[in-house]
């Protein structure tokens, strides 16, 4: 008897981002507002982390509702119907309850019928992991049209009086639609993690709140993540001088500047556009890259077809990066 042969579908040659959308909650919280409830002030926060204001979710803004609103915009821009989507991937680490997972709930809210559906928890690196999973599913022939969402309500898991975290963490969502294409418009992912710092960012227990070893994370991110970005460009065969925009996870303006410095020293143009959405959005974990990219696009700093180098990093400590063309 001959062994059973398993056949595989022929996937798409490449994939591309065909739509981008975001949702920012309405409530603006300034540094002065935070100074009313804890020992901090505008100058202290701006100099440490570069944040001027951030958005907090309202009572009705959940990981699901914010993710769905961002997704609706991405779907509209892609010019497709929700029923065209066959896979939904949600990157989040702040879901109100772990079961059921977010992807099927967001699919249900949008009228997406019976998609493959799963969540990714790679903390603040989640969006780049989600884009990689979508790209791989499309090229493997498992999916044709994928919705990737980063949605976070970090304030639900933050001690509002902890000066180490409450000045940084915020809420929001971003989403992209990824479809098959003849030419690759999304490069290979460079991903990894560093288990030696597994405790550096954590929530202890069911009723816990975020704890962060600020100096450890700062040292790791400023010394290691620039190289991840450089490797992501190399993996895609893209010359750093041809990169138009650097969109990193928005963790801390000083980390963003340190990564940009390394990327420029390695050959990127000194006038490369660098995402600094943290100044008015705070740190929104897996939502930060699509939020930042959409703001840059609205401001005219990037436009369709521009080469974007993205890199994200966070608890784990975990990282991922890839090149893609701006939708």
């Amino acid at each position: 008897m001959s062994p059973t042969k398993i056949t595989r579908p022929v996937g798409s040659a490449g994939s591309r981002i065909s739509g981008l959308g975001h949702f920012r909650p309405d409530t603006v919280v300034t540094n002065d507002d935070l100074g009313q409830i804890m020992d901090t002030n505008d100058e202290w926060i701006r100099s440490r982390v570069g944040i001027a204001e951030r958005r907090f979710a309202g009572e009705d803004d959940t990981v699901i509702s914010m993710g769905a609103r961002a997704s609706a915009k991405a779907i509209a821009e892609a010019g497709i119907s929700p029923t065209d989507i066959d896979t939904v991937i949600v990157a989040t680490c702040t879901l109100e309850s772990p079961v059921p997972h977010a992807a099927t709930q967001i699919a249900g809210a949008l009228g997406i019928h019976a998609p493959g559906s799963f969540d990714i928890n790679a903390a603040c690196a989640g969006f780049c992991y989600g884009v990689a999973a979508a790209d791989q599913a499309i090229r493997a022939g498992s999916s044709s049209t994928v919705l990737v969402v980063g949605s976070e309500r970090l304030t639900a898991w933050t001690d509002p009086k902890d000066r180490a975290t409450a000045i940084i963490f915020a809420d929001g969502a971003g989403a992209v639609v990824i479809t098959g294409s003849d030419e690759s418009e999304i490069g290979p992912v460079v991903w990894g993690s560093d288990e030696t710092h597994i405790d550096a960012i954590r929530i202890e227990g069911r009723n816990g709140t975020f704890f962060q070893e600020g100096q450890t994370v700062f040292r790791w991110a400023t010394t290691r993540i620039g190289l991840v970005a450089i490797r992501a460009a190399q993996a895609a065969g893209v010359d750093l001088a041809d990169v138009d925009a650097l969109v990193t996870h928005q963790a801390n303006l000083r980390i963003i500047d340190a990564i940009a410095k390394k990327v420029i020293a390695a050959g990127a143009r000194p006038d490369i556009k660098v995402a600094r959405d943290i100044v008015t959005s705070g740190n929104t974990s897996s939502a930060s890259i699509p939020l930042a990219l959409d703001r840059m696009r609205a401001a005219g700093e990037v436009s369709s077809g521009d080469v974007v180098l993205s890199v994200a990093f966070g608890a784990g400590l975990t990282y991922a990066g890839q090149v893609f063309l701006c939708p």
Binding site: S47, R48, Q215, T222, T223, N252
Partner: protein, 88 residues
Amino acid sequence: MSPPKGNIVSNEDIIAGLGEIVEEVAGVAAADVTPEKSFTDDLDIDSLSMVEIAVQAEDKFGVKIPDDELANLKTVGDAVAYIEANKA
């Protein structure tokens, strides 16, 4: 920590090297980086800048300065003594 085993010249080299690093990271004049100065109170250097200074000092002097050791380096003199005792 083992006692400093170097001589005055190498201590001066370390102070001068630290001064260059502190000037680049925090914009403090290198001449102000003297042993009795507290990084936080006198030179107004925050905890994240201390990390950047440590990273550059590690490269310059071939020494490891982990975050838990960094917390003990209150003054420029503390840093000089640590580097002197631990440098390659």
